[in-house]
């Protein structure tokens, strides 16, 4: 059986049609996406939860479809009407789509949303549950390396594998577009594990990488209020009284004075002029590089960020205020149900990971077997990394053509 079960219409348009016969009450949809019905009634607050709209037409001609808002229910992805639709009636289930889909006679009736687009490209992934089921079929049972295994064990190792893969193997697809507020701090995304890079976006949509402050500044974890002897003071409950960070305050203020003279209408060119002189020397922060020359780690003018671990926030240098940034980060692949998916190019690596983890954690397994599986895991993980690195020879060739460029000194 082929793995693709959706028709082209279901995949591209997010629509599936039926015909009434005056007998059938329930019409089963076969989308990859499960139907979500909050309410059939547009006046009900839960109506907004629906991920589809239902249309009917007596002729089936374009423009003749109207939304069906009489009571119906969804049971196991089947639309179930209270009374059997009339013979010949055209019924269409339209998943929500960015362009609203092809049906609905008014704007209000259009099915606006992103459900169809969420499914695009889904064929390149396999869900974690499917991967676990596949593993149980292929690797667990009589006459196999794993004679018996609790599903909870497999689940544990599969999820741990997905977490580990998320950190260094899988593509980093998470990114958040944010605007830096006046406070110059942003709360970390809910599923944040580590950052990949942060960039500010200029008026042309070009991204400019912002770098971590490294040793330039720090966000202190504790900011106790001290008495005149330097001893931290406590409140009525015996806990240290903490204030705001003076380091961070100075960093923010210092940046505003030294790095930036005019916040409004900034471009990279202006920043360049403010922070660098014509000899390529860093002039915005004079203590650095003045005596021994330029320190490359600070030789950039895009801006700085640092992590405030205490508050769970990212802190930015002040000349980034009101700027649009994109934070690319990695999660662990388990935060949301929609995250728990594995690229097919790493599927085999995940199986090898689970197999090795199960055998390696069991008592009385021959060490040669554990080592063999370890090597298999390592090889398959390396393959997955190479595949997911998306290295194309013609793209490399294009980059390498730059090697013949003369570097002037």
């Amino acid at each position: 059986m082929s793995l693709i079960t959706e028709t082209n219409q279901q995949y591209y348009q997010g629509a599936q049609g039926f015909r009434g016969d005056n007998t059938t009450l329930a019409f089963k949809t076969t989308f990859d996406t499960d139907l979500i019905l909050g309410s059939f009634d547009p006046n009900n607050i839960n109506y907004a939860l629906n991920n589809f709209k239902l249309y009917t037409s007596s002729t089936g001609l374009p423009g003749s479809y109207s939304e069906y808002i009489t009571e119906f229910s969804v049971v196991d992805n089947a639309i179930t009407f209270l009374a059997a639709p009339a013979t010949g009636l055209y019924i269409v289930v339209q998943l929500k789509k960015l362009d609203g889909g092809l049906y609905g006679s008014t704007e209000a009736e259009k099915a606006y949303g992103q459900v169809v687009e969420d499914n695009y490209g889904s064929y390149s992934y396999i869900t974690l549950n499917d991967a676990i089921d596949n593993f149980m079929v292929g690797y667990v049972g009589g006459g196999k390396l794993i004679q018996r295994a609790k599903k909870s064990d497999i689940l544990f190792f599969a999820k741990r594998g997905l977490q580990e893969f998320s950190y260094d193997t899988l593509k980093s697809v998470k990114s958040a577009e944010l605007t830096i507020p006046v406070s110059l701090t942003l709360a970390l995304p809910q599923d944040y594990v580590n950052y990949v890079r942060a960039s500010w976006i200029d008026q042309l949509g070009v991204k400019h990488i912002i770098y971590p402050t490294n040793n330039l500044t720090i966000s202190p974890y504790y900011t106790q209020i001290q008495d005149e002897k330097g001893v931290p003071t406590q409140d009525n409950f015996g806990s240290d009284i903490e204030g705001t960070s003076i380091t961070q305050e100075r960093w923010h203020e210092g940046n505003a004075q030294d790095f930036l003279l005019d916040n409004a209408g900034l471009s990279g060119i202006n920043d360049f002029a403010f922070n660098w002189n014509q000899n390529g020397e860093w002039i915005g922060y004079r203590n650095y590089g003045e005596l021994y020359g330029l320190d490359p780690q600070y030789a950039q003018m895009n801006g700085w960020f640092n992590l405030n671990e205490r508050e769970g926030k990212m802190s930015f240098s002040s000349h980034l205020v009101n700027r649009l940034i994109v934070l690319e980060y990695i999660s662990d692949g388990l935060a949301y149900d929609t995250d728990t998916k594995i690229p097919k190019m790493a599927e085999e690596a995940l199986y090898a990971h689970i197999l090795h983890a199960v055998i390696a954690s069991r008592a009385n397994q021959p060490e040669y077997l554990v080592q063999r599986l370890k090597r298999e895991r390592s090889a398959k993980l390396r393959n997955a990394k190479i595949r997911l690195s998306n290295i194309k020879t013609d793209e490399i060739a294009q980059v390498m053509r730059g090697k013949s460029k003369w570097i002037k000194h």
């Binding site: 499960d34 139907l35 979500i36 019905l37 969804v74 049971v75 196991d76 992805n77 549950n129 009589g142 006459g143 004679q147 609790k150 599903k151 909870s152 689940l155 544990f156 999820k159 741990r160 388990l334």
Partner: protein
């Protein structure tokens, strides 16, 4: 196909009477027959386990009729059934009135979600449940539910499933129904077999067990009538059969 209780009883009588060793009353036969049926039934599980180990050493054959593990598994078909378990709201468990000997795979059906989810449910001990449910990676959900067994108070089996499904489908092995050779008394005081289902019950074992049944019953009656030759002969035969099957 089940083994006819009448055929077994008459064969046993034939062997025992042939050399005028004694007579077996229907009540004695029914009692011994129940014991023997249960004995053979219980032997399937250790035997199955033993034969399954051949898979591990890759020494099991994969023929259509001569794979002993499949053969033993097949012999359980008369006892394998999807038993009806109902939800007890007060105790938050599923229980059954069926005469369950062992439970097999439990499928939890979650019908109040879309789409309907039918999940294989994992049997764990209470201690394991406490551990597994504390890990965020393995905590039970409707795609990976867990259950442990208990009893409803009168020895009835109960299943505590987390999260609670709307219904469950449980593959079970039922305890064999005791065989019974029912009769009416004839004009001469003789026993006449009554094949009516209300009076008689056949052995539930597969027909392939008929020889073993007779031999095992004879062994017991050899003890009852204190005849070592019967015990010895029947034992040897039964042992030979066992060796053939397991080697």
């Amino acid at each position: 196909m089940a083994v006819s209780v009448d055929k077994v009883y008459k064969t046993v009588l034939f062997v025992l009477n042939k050399e005028q060793r004694g007579y077996v009353t229907p009540a004695e036969f029914n009692s011994i027959a129940e014991q023997v049926q249960f004995q053979i039934f219980e032997s399937y599980f250790p035997d199955g386990n033993q034969q399954y180990r051949k898979d591990q050493t890759n020494s099991q054959n994969d023929t259509e009729f001569f794979n002993m593990f499949k053969d033993i598994e097949y012999k359980l078909y008369p006892f394998e059934e999807n038993s009806n378990f109902t939800y007890n709201v007060n105790k938050d468990v599923f229980s059954t009135s069926a005469n369950v000997y062992k439970i097999g795979e439990v499928i939890s059906n979650y019908t109040d979600v879309n789409p309907v989810i039918n999940s294989i449910t994992q049997l764990v001990s209470r201690a394991e449940f406490n551990k597994i449910s504390r890990s965020k990676l393995t905590a039970p959900n409707n795609k990976n539910p867990l259950f442990f067994t208990g009893n409803a108070g009168a020895g009835d089996l109960t299943l505590k499933i987390t999260p609670t499904p709307n219904s469950i489908t449980v593959n079970t092995i039922l305890t064999p129904t005791p065989p019974k050779w029912g009769f009416t008394v004839g004009g001469l005081g003789q026993y006449i077999y009554n094949p009516s289902p209300t009076a008689s019950t056949d052995f539930e074992l597969d027909v392939s067990e008929q020889s073993l049944l007779i031999l095992e019953i004879l062994k017991y009656f050899g003890i009852v009538i204190n005849d070592p030759t019967i015990i010895q002969a029947a034992s040897q035969e039964a042992q030979q059969m066992e060796i053939n099957e397991k080697s």
